[in-house]
Symmetry: C2
Subunit: 140 residues, 2 copies
Amino acid sequence: MNTILLNILRQRGYRITPQRELILNAAMQSQAHVTAETIFERVQQHTQALNIATVYRTLDLLVTEGLFRRTDLGGGSMVYAPTEHGPHIHLVCYKCQQTLEAEYQLVANLTSEIQQRHHFSADLHHVSIFGLCANCQPSN
Amino acid sequence: MNTILLNILRQRGYRITPQRELILNAAMQSQAHVTAETIFERVQQHTQALNIATVYRTLDLLVTEGLFRRTDLGGGSMVYAPTEHGPHIHLVCYKCQQTLEAEYQLVANLTSEIQQRHHFSADLHHVSIFGLCANCQPSN
DNA sequence: GCTATAATTGCGACTATTCGCAATAGCAAA
DNA sequence: TTTGCTATTGCGAATAGTCGCAATTATAGC
């Protein structure tokens, strides 16, 4: 049972509903990125009392509150991960759809440069970069 | 009438259909980014002989052939622009949805670093970076 | 413990996009 | 110019995600 994140939400004035508890627990259940659909299925194994729209709305809330990150890994649906899992970037191949994880370090100073030059606070903590992996690049 | 891009497609073994001509012309009609829906509406002013799925498929083709770029500007639908319009990056605000254009230069050496370290050919030519604009950042 | 109120949920409709499949039609070769 | 092959299209259904609105409910104040 994850009380830490629930308490953060409560402190920020959000109501703690059974649905939010269920979603949060299901979302924290694995170390990997999860889709809304996966969370929905996990919760449904215990109870019927949940609508998929609520899953999306709760995940949106968690993302805008900075507790989760949403990433497009090119698989057709967005994936979510707790912010505490630490920043890293995703290299997603256009062609074969494979994804590589890379160190956040690569984009760290891009963030500060964008802040200085454009006063824009870029969120690159779980960003996806699309392109072609080694195997799929034309070899000439 | 845009014969240059049509010839490139022909040379690469793709068939030139009336639909592809119409879509290509409509897509090149303005300097700005366009959505599939916009292209579809433009073409429909001339003829009914076009299906929205074909618009999406043709745009996909143009993107995978490197002739167009697809970008998510956070407005709910993807936008497309000819590659020849030149690279630039988009700073998209999570909160107010406003987008700023910035120089490609900012990410130029990130591309080569990713190539060196991960042998991954990153495509950052029209990338969107999400975050908070100056107005929407907490001011403390 | 009750009540009032505003946040949250469920539901059904809607949007953007993709997909499978049968029908159509470019284009290369004869 | 006709033919045949296969790429491409149209269609309708499916998927991921969002939205408006009425019903429900968490929580602050009594």
